[in-house]
């Protein structure tokens, strides 16, 4: 194929995130139990399961929002692999601002509603040391454009935005610092299907262009089919099946996954 100039990135055998035996209990009740997996650079992992299956608990433990009872979450930092569970709180916070990002289901949980759209994006930059007002504003405008928010809305508050726009603003706020790993909790939940499609397209492009790794929790199997390379199915806190996304959806092996897949209404 002489006409195409391929520029392949080197494949790395080093996982970006390596999770071993992660367990969280709420008293006698299991939140999630003995979860282990590796996530490689550029990979998108979907976690599906019904409400109460432990997928949100797992995401909170992975992202450092909640301390697990057991297990390790090893992240490949610029200084080498570090266990984020045992790392000092200050270090974990710094990582959450730089290498990691977290997109909440409800944009209100991830945005500052009283601050302008530009301020929401700029704030993240200032948190990692940006000080030049003009640079910050330029970068904010660039990111609003990437998530398809018109530059003339930069001074509006998120309250004046639709749900889909608020979610795109939350994504811009999270990605402006160039994270390597993004956690997403039902990122398309609560949105109209047409808005969902737009957001999916946006996320796919950003993942590809920035080489992002992502962990996406959702109950929507159509969303994971289009976004995730790999899939983990959770039930009652346990991972009952994991594998290539289309394999898990097209040829599910576990009874629960078969039930889940066959319960989706066809349109």
């Amino acid at each position: 194929m002489g006409m195409l100039n391929l520029n392949l990135t080197a494949e790395t055998d080093q996982p970006l995130l390596s999770v071993q035996g992660l367990t969280k209990r709420y008293g006698a009740r299991i939140g999630c139990a003995d979860v282990s997996f590796d996530l490689f650079p550029g990979e998108v992992l979907g976690i599906v399961g019904e409400s109460g299956s432990g997928k949100s608990t797992l995401l909170s433990c992975l992202a450092g929002h909640m301390p697990p009872d057991q297990g390790s979450v090893i992240f490949q930092t610029a200084q080498g692999p570090r266990d984020t569970v045992t790392m000092a709180e200050a270090d974990r916070r710094r990582m959450a601002r730089t290498d990691w990002a977290f997109v909440h289901q409800n944009p209100r949980d991830g945005l500052r509603m009283g601050v302008s759209a530009g301020g929401n994006v700029g704030e993240r930059l200032m948190a990692i040391g940006a000080r030049h007002y003009g640079d910050i504003r330029d970068k904010a405008i660039d990111w609003l454009g990437r998530v398809e928010i018109a530059a003339d809305r930069i001074d509006d508050r998120p309250r004046a935005f639709s749900g889909g726009m608020q979610q795109r603003l939350q994504i811009a706020r999270n990605l402006v610092t160039g994270p390597r790993l993004v956690f997403m909790d039902e990122p398309t939940g609560g949105l109209d299907v047409s808005v969902q499609a737009r957001l999916l397209d946006l996320l796919r492009g950003l993942v590809r262009d920035m080489g992002l790794s992502a962990i996406i929790v959702t109950h929507d199997l159509a969303v994971v089919r289009l976004l995730a390379d790999r899939l983990m199915v959770m039930k009652s806190g346990h991972v009952v099946e994991q594998g290539l996304t289309d394999q898990v959806l097209d040829d599910p092996q576990h009874a629960y996954t078969q039930l889940l897949v066959s319960s989706v209404l066809q349109v």
Binding site: M1, M3, L4, L6, E43, L244, D246, H254
Partner: protein
């Protein structure tokens, strides 16, 4: 390039009394570079099942499916993702895309995923869409609203955008008119000429006769029912 040995497949339906359905046993075939092998056999005989096992979205019960240097039956998800990126292409019967993404982007996506610059990827997509007679005024629309035949041609353009060394084609000429069917057969002939190994399902006998070097009857792989 593609080699299948002693392949078996069964489905276990946990929610229907844990019924186990053996659907394939002792499947053996190979496809050399530059060769096109057609799968034949009645509907339900297992042609698509075999293709999906090669693609990796159906798990094998036992046996080997070698594509290039990888045994898909044993491979980790990551290895299959890599295989699909650079080695193995698949034109399925159905177009599955994110709604609202323009047709030209849908076709260019396999190249963009490989890091091909956007303008080159779009040029390649445009030339394939032109060859397959998709009018330029449709390129910036999502293919989800297209007719069945148009969607199929978009799917074919996407499958041929990158010159994969191995290709799976599931009914690529079904629901196409004679003119577009001929374009697809030309694309297949060109892929063979550059050395691609192709495994295909063609219901149209004339199409099959034109591009297939050999056929394999999947009924030979039907498990023998114990009396």
């Amino acid at each position: 390039m593609i080699e299948i040995r002693d392949l078996a497949k069964s489905f276990t339906l946990h929610n229907q009394g844990a019924a186990v359905l053996p659907v394939m046993a002792n499947a053996n075939l190979h496809v050399r570079p530059g060769e096109c092998v057609g799968l034949i056999g009645a509907s339900g005989a297992g042609k698509s099942t075999l293709m999906r096992m090669v693609w990796g979205n159906y798990l094998a019960a036992s046996g080997m499916i070698r594509v290039g240097t990888l045994d898909v039956a044993q491979a980790a998800p990551r290895q299959i993702i890599q295989l699909r990126r650079k080695t193995l292409g698949y034109v399925s019967q159905f177009l599955r895309v994110v709604p609202r993404v323009p047709t030209i982007e849908v076709v260019a996506e396999p190249l963009l995923n490989l890091g091909v610059p956007a303008d080159q990827a779009r040029d390649r997509a445009a030339s394939l869409l032109t060859r397959l007679n998709i009018p330029e005024r449709l390129w910036n629309l999502s293919p989800t609203t297209f007719s069945g035949g148009e969607q199929q041609r978009v799917n074919i353009a996407r499958g041929f955008a990158y010159p994969y060394p191995a290709l799976l084609l599931d009914e690529p000429t079904a629901s196409l008119d004679a003119v577009n069917g001929a374009v697809v057969l030309d694309l297949i002939a060109e892929a063979k000429a550059r050395g691609a190994a192709i495994l295909g399902i063609f219901h149209d006998e004339a199409a099959r006769a034109q591009v297939c070097d050999r056929v394999v009857d999947v009924r030979d792989f039907t498990p023998k029912v114990a009396a």
